[in-house]
Point group: C2
Chain length 273, copies 2
């Protein structure tokens, strides 16, 4: 893919400008000529799925993914079944919004037993695959940084994500490469290569020192230490040429005017991705 | 090793009660019957090596390790050579204080090029091995949690640490297993087993959610999600029966009376390690 087409791959992950409603985000993408959007479910919920679909369709925006399914581990079978049901709703929403990608943040353990939690993730995905397939939606396992192993996801490496995904057809289960979560991995480039044909998304932000907040501390591309451009090229060599989501979770961006943030996102994306 | 001997393995890592000078720490260990201490170099510096040695020898305390060498990557050859010199001083200090274990916190990259930084770590260790051997000191590579990859160490997994260590004799280079840094690793127990004969230390603390501070957020054993006892048994199966350092870096402990902290450390150690 030619470098001059890079901007046509820019996707606004809605959490980056969480102060915007879905309508504001759609309007922002239109006015800033951002062709893709990644939609969060709490934003869909605010106005309903029908209205969400109408906004996006009328704007002619493409949806790169829905965030997020997952959260599989739970203390009881009943709770785990409820999580599966919720994931089915997420699959339906993804299909309705015209994306084939549901991002999975797999969830933390209900207790200290992380091995069991990891098995529950595998079981949860296994239960969802046929349902997702019926809807034409792929399950995109996003490994989260190991610092989130206790509270967000017990899937923390590309190796784990690919090991699960490889049990299925590439049209069924794949992986997300988010630079913030995996940049430190000593096996990163081997793992990106291994995921060839299964990469369902590429997310960018940056890791800046010092990090004021583990969760809301992601930086604008170029402000930190991550070799974003190198990773983008590796992901392309592994066959991924789809949308690139800017997903920066940072309170200081939420406190600013959304249009200013999106302008900066575009500049930073053009320069550092 | 029998469970009733566990308390004879307790080592106070000095950083846990950083408000104490070395003299206060030595006196604290004596009065609380803690048989081991891990000494930090900034504490040695305060009173000098001779006086440090005298305090420890007079008290009859055993030193489990000196913290720390490492910090190998740097932008220029001159800077890297200075780091090597400083590591030689650390080796001399370890030998003088009667421990054969120098803990290596390997250091962050000088720029975005993490691969080169990792090579510089390998080169640095390679330069140190003969010097350390002359002093009867083993280099103990401590993998640090991936969330410290940008600012403290580019060695972030047991796999990395063992891959370097295996180039040398087990009497020359080994690894530290610190529960806080490695508990999330999907390959943890295989890696502990792989490190058989090379484990030079076992450090305990806990990971509590939410984590207020990435650096100073470690919790008392039992307060978090880490399967400490399971890891201790795995480390013992891999042949390690030496001192167990309590290394809790937490501002709230530093704000308290050191004797209260040490009392709590002992109780928590007996119950959860």
């Amino acid at each position: 893919m030619a470098e001059d087409k890079l901007m046509s791959r820019l996707s606004l992950n809605q959490i980056t400008i969480d102060q915007w409603s879905l309508q504001e985000a759609v309007e922002g993408c239109l006015s800033h000529e951002v062709p893709w959007i990644s939609v969060w479910r709490h934003k869909i919920k605010e106005i309903g799925l029908k209205q969400s679909k109408r906004l996006i369709t009328d704007a002619g925006l493409d949806v790169s993914s829905v965030c997020r399914g997952g959260m599989f581990p739970a203390a009881t079978a009943k709770d785990r079944a409820e999580r599966i049901d919720d994931n089915k709703r997420a699959i339906e929403e993804a299909a309705e919004l015209g994306t084939d990608t549901l991002v999975l943040v797999c969830g933390p353990s209900a207790d200290r037993d992380i091995d069991t939690a990891r098995k529950q993730v595998e079981e949860g995905i296994d239960q969802l695959v046929p349902y997702a397939k019926d809807y034409g939606v792929k399950l995109a396992i996003e490994p989260l940084h190991p610092m989130f192993a206790a509270d967000r996801s017990v899937i923390n490496t590309m190796d784990q994500a690919s090991t699960i995904a490889e049990k299925y057809h590439p049209d069924e289960v794949g992986v997300i490469v988010d630079v913030y979560h995996v940049w430190w991995d000593p096996n990163l480039y081997q793992e990106i290569n291994r995921a060839k044909g299964r990469i369902l998304g590429f997310h960018v932000s940056d890791w800046k020192v010092p990090m004021a907040d583990m969760f809301k501390g992601r930086a604008m591309m170029g402000e930190g230490v991550i070799e974003i451009n190198r990773m983008r090229k590796a992901v392309e060599e592994a066959g991924y040429h789809g949308p690139i989501e800017v997903e920066i979770i940072n309170q200081s961006l939420w406190d600013r005017d959304g249009n200013d943030v999106l302008q900066e996102v575009k500049q930073s994306f053009a320069k550092h991705v």
